[in-house]
Amino acid sequence: MNPVLEIVAVCKKFSGVVALDDLKFTIEEGEMRGLVGANGAGKTTLLNVIGGQVMADSGIVRIAGLDVAKFSPWRRAGLGLGRTFQESRMWADLTTAEHFGIAIDASRRIAGRAAPNHAVDDICSLVELPKVMLERMPAQMRLLDRRRVELAMATLNASNLLLIDEIGAGLDVEEARMLYRLIARLIDRRCVRAAILVEHKLELLAAFATGISLIENGKASQHADCKDAARLALLMSSMFGHRSDAAAEVLQQRKGLQ
């Protein structure tokens, strides 16, 4: 079985500034991989290069064995790639139900029978979206519910891989925890094969992700399995520098969140 995602030697420069440098990265079935790193380390650029919002200068991006590096975003989406964005994005003039309708229709059009066969009811219950939200406009919903809708829409497409960019931004820890639990459940129930998450709250990743990768200077410099506490502590200490107490604190908080 091919890995869900395989990135080989991807480089990306923005007007001379190196954002991704000979990056190598693999995601296997069932993984929920967190991406951490300083601002500007290349986390969002990596998501964009996978999603096609940004084209890599060189290298290979394989989704389920197919090199999509030259594909436009909508074609990649059609291959089972779902995505949510750093800022909450919905179509301002459409209700939630219309959002789902358009997304289901589009994924069926492109993937035909191979499209994941989701009913709107199932999706609502999967992301625990109250039914009354179906007739609401984006402006009438609070951020947490909007994020649920975005997650559901992304899942409608994402038979292979979900790309989640700071879904907890602007939410409190309890709300963010709820969303992470939902994402973990989507993977458990095999609605998606794997997910990649960019997140600043490390304790959330430590609590829910299967593994964490540290992005530094445009490279995936370290990986840690979340079950491996020693390795996780090492990754965090190289992230926080001398402040090993911060790493210990994260590991402590992780227990509380689980």
């Binding site: 909508w74 964005f85 179509w91 301002a92």
Partner: protein, 289 residues
């Protein structure tokens, strides 16, 4: 009564052009070039009935196809740009088309008389209604039913997949692409359809006017059509109907304001933009209750 009959064809033709503008506006762009497709339809329809004795319905169908084809070819590159670049390109293309219409010269002998467009002298003798004995009332009926057909087509389009995808693309193309909608293709479809609708309107216009020339397809025609469409609002297809009714019936048809029509119309647009920026009928965007 006779005034009303006189208004119907004018209203119908303006409405069809407004529907064309409405489709482009729905894709999130402003086109100042729909008069070009209107012109393509006018010339195509006029040539077929006046020079080749085609029936009107078939000629109108070809008007639609010809204008859609031109729009499709142009839209292939236009669908990749947006904002003021799009508007500027449509404006330039509209002016270009006007220059092309001046050059159309094609004469053919029909029933012992030369017929067809004469370049800068225009295209006269599109007398299908006259030669087939179609009276004013019947002309109005033809125009009104064609306009109603366009209205229904645009309404259906908006309720089905392509139209809904268009709203999504117009609202946030990146988000649309992330759920496997092809933004370029979606906008191209809409642009070609807008071309077809404008072409039908042009075909009607040619037969109503019996004489057409490049000046009929000037920039002001396109700008004006966009303006009264916006005046009506983009909430649904009734917006263009309301905008056209307001413009044609009150300002032109009833001549309430006489020759100050365009002055009043311009002021009205300014007032509307301040008071009801989303048009007479508004849109469905609601605020938090």
């Amino acid at each position: 009564m006779s005034e009303l009959v006189a208004i119907i064809p004018m209203f119908s033709i303006s409405l069809v052009l407004a529907l064309s503008c409405y489709l482009v506006l729905k894709s999130g762009e402003i086109s100042f070039g729909q008069q070009a497709f209107f012109g393509v339809g006018a010339y195509a329809g006029g040539i077929l009935t006046a020079m080749f004795d085609w029936p009107l319905v078939a000629a109108l169908a070809v008007s639609a196809v010809a204008a859609a084809a031109v729009a499709g070819v142009i839209g292939f590159s236009l669908s990749r740009i947006s904002g003021f670049r799009f508007t500027l390109m449509t404006l330039v293309l509209g002016e270009f088309a006007k220059e092309v219409f001046v050059k159309i010269e094609w004469r053919r002998e029909v029933n012992g008389q030369a017929a067809g467009p004469e370049g800068p002298l225009g295209f006269s003798g599109i007398e299908y209604y006259y030669s087939h004995g179609i009276q004013h009332l019947a002309q109005g009926l033809i125009a009104a039913s064609v306009a109603a057909g366009c209205l229904v087509a645009v309404w259906v389009y908006g309720r089905t997949g392509p139209g809904r995808r268009l709203v999504a693309v117009a609202s946030d193309a990146t988000l649309a692409a992330s759920v496997s909608i092809d933004p370029v293709r979606t906008r191209l479809q809409a642009f070609a359809m807008a071309g077809a609708v404008a072409g039908i309107g042009g075909g009607l216009f040619a037969h109503q006017a019996t004489y057409i020339e490049a000046a009929n397809f000037s920039l002001m025609v396109g700008v004006h059509a966009v303006a009264y469409t916006l005046l009506g609002g983009l909430a649904n297809v009734l917006g263009p109907v309301a905008g056209t009714a307001f413009d044609v019936v009150f300002l032109e048809g009833l001549r309430v304001v006489g020759s100050y029509r365009m002055v009043v119309f311009g002021s009205l647009i300014v007032v509307m933009l301040i008071l009801r920026p989303r048009g007479l009928l508004g849109t469905r965007t609601r605020t938090v209750p």
